[in-house]
């Protein structure tokens, strides 16, 4: 009985009580897959931060003497067509990919969340307007939307982040709006309004905390998606431009040498898979652990 009243009390505050949070954290820790994912991401972060230490020198400096070499002690993953160490470029590439991932979800979070909250909470004309725009954007498959934006904005790292970021915004808007819609119907929100609480306070204190869960899951998965999309654009030649060592861009140049030097294309791809895998595993684990249906 105490359990249920505690939970009800927590819902009246819109925040997870400490004990519940601890239980969900324990559940997350138990999930070995999620843990593995988290470790992968951590490894990439460390690699990105320590890049100059792990690989001194410029990763983009050509060295034509050593073009297209297989694995060796000096270059464990071989070299590409311009003689650059693939390992080194992958290490520096992790910086690019993480930068893109963070940049893209920032768009979603900074633009999508507030719009979603406003749309879901206030309803009416504002909601209608935002929804129509969101619907239009979501009428395109994500990658295609990013593609179209790149066609307009141009290529390069900055535009890659902006294009993918913008295409991620409607996803966040939908997500947050849905949550906001259901929470605003809760009795404690009504009570807060009746007492005269200002809207912004209600939004921040009651609605936002409850939206955190799906946002967190979406952010982890979104980062993985961002890396995939960016790699796709890079591969097509309209994303990050060479010589910047973005993994997808590396793959596009590696494509020409597929027949006798497949390692140029193989290893950056593996890096992409591992990074995205990490975010996906973590996102899955978060979803399992934080899903309110699975009440422990």
């Amino acid at each position: 009985m105490t359990e249920t009243t505690k939970n009800e009390a927590s819902r009246t505050q819109g925040r997870l009580p400490y004990s519940q949070l601890r239980r969900r954290w324990a559940k997350l820790r138990r999930n070995k897959a999620a843990l593995f994912g988290g470790i992968l991401i951590l490894i990439f972060i460390v690699i990105a931060l320590l890049a100059p230490v792990l690989f001194p020198g410029s990763p983009s400096a050509p060295n034509l003497m050593k073009s297209l070499e297989r694995s060796s002690l000096e270059h464990p993953l071989g070299t590409d067509e311009l003689g650059r160490s693939i390992l080194g470029r992958i290490i520096y590439g992790s910086r690019i990919s993480l930068l893109i991932a963070v940049g893209v979800v920032s768009f979603g979070l900074l633009i999508g969340v507030p719009l979603g909250l406003v749309s879901g909470y206030y309803r009416g004309k504002v909601d209608f307007g935002i929804q129509r725009v969101t619907d239009t954007m979501l009428a395109f498959p994500g990658f295609l939307l990013a593609l179209a934006l790149v066609a307009v904005l141009g290529v390069g790292l900055k535009n890659t982040v902006i294009s993918i970021g913008i295409s991620m915004v409607p996803i966040y808007i939908r997500l947050v709006r849905g949550c906001a819609l259901s929470i605003r119907e809760e009795v404690y929100v009504e009570a807060a309004r009746a007492v005269g609480t200002r809207d912004i306070v209600i939004l921040l204190r009651h609605i936002l905390p409850n939206v955190m869960v799906p946002i967190t899951v979406q952010t982890s998965l979104g980062m993985g998606m961002a890396i995939l999309f960016a790699a796709g654009l890079g591969f097509l030649g309209i994303g990050v431009q060479p010589p910047t060592p973005e993994w997808g861009t590396m793959l596009s140049s590696g494509r020409a040498y597929l027949f006798h030097s497949p390692h140029v294309a193989t290893f950056p791809g593996i890096a992409i898979v591992l990074a995205v895998l990490g975010f996906n595993l973590l996102g899955d684990g978060l979803r399992d652990a934080l899903d309110p249906r699975f009440r422990l």
């Binding site: 129509r132 395109f140 994500g142 066609a151 591969f235």
Partner: protein, 306 residues
Amino acid sequence: MLQYVIKRLLSTIPVLIGISLLLFFMLRMLPGDPAQVLAGQMATPDEVELIRHQLGLDRPVHVQYAFFLGRLARFDLGRSARTQNPVTEEIWARLPNTMLLAVVAITLACLFGIPAGIISAVRPYTWIDYVVTSTAIFGISMPVFWLGLMLVVVFAVWLQWLPAGGTGSWRHVILPSFTLAAFVVAFIARMTRSSMIEVLSQDYTTTARSKGLKEQVVVIKHALKNALIPIITVIGLQFGMLLGGAVLTETVFAWPGVGRLIVDSILARDYPMIQGAILVFGLLYILVNLVVDLLYAYVDPRIRYD
């Protein structure tokens, strides 16, 4: 159900308007003179002026938009700045190729993904479940173009069983469609698994068992029918992923579809073509989602009989 159908059809209208606006303004957001842009880099100043007049680019914006809508209604998407052929023609020539890949991919995805998901759900946490779920999560983490390249390395370079690209025979279809299918198979397997697990934990599954029905019957007749409903709705979304993936896959395999057309057009700054191709893909996506939503209404008796 009628209410649902009408609502759904009506909701398509603002989206169509929105897309047309988006594409209309897309062109005008580009730096420089739209007429020049549309005429292409090779055009002479006279040709540019001709285009400007023809497309009414010297008129006010809302008039231009009206012209634009008018042309859309007549399926006139302009001419390619690269080849000077009508955009509609170029797209129409390539669309069947893309659709071929997409249809094969979706079929494979359902053929393999759904049974895998079912088996996984019925025997959770066994070795077979781990195999399915780990493969699936790798599947959705893989860039489709990398998978394509790897498959080429293995099957075209090392084993030399299949061609590395182009069209011609059924052999040419295998690698591109399998590549395209990979992500979707994985996604559908995961979705089927979670949907089935959810359904198998429902009260009505216990009721079915309490009547003494064989487990097989419970899974297929009682559970699967319910589990497929949310999966159907997701297939529309998956089609979108396929269209996006097609762009990449067709590039890898030099497949003459609309996807590759988009890429080539972007690289060549052939804006009428970009606009046209993206429009077509967008419309296709909307159409498929519409069909899927209507199908879903038909399949779920709670909506059908209301």
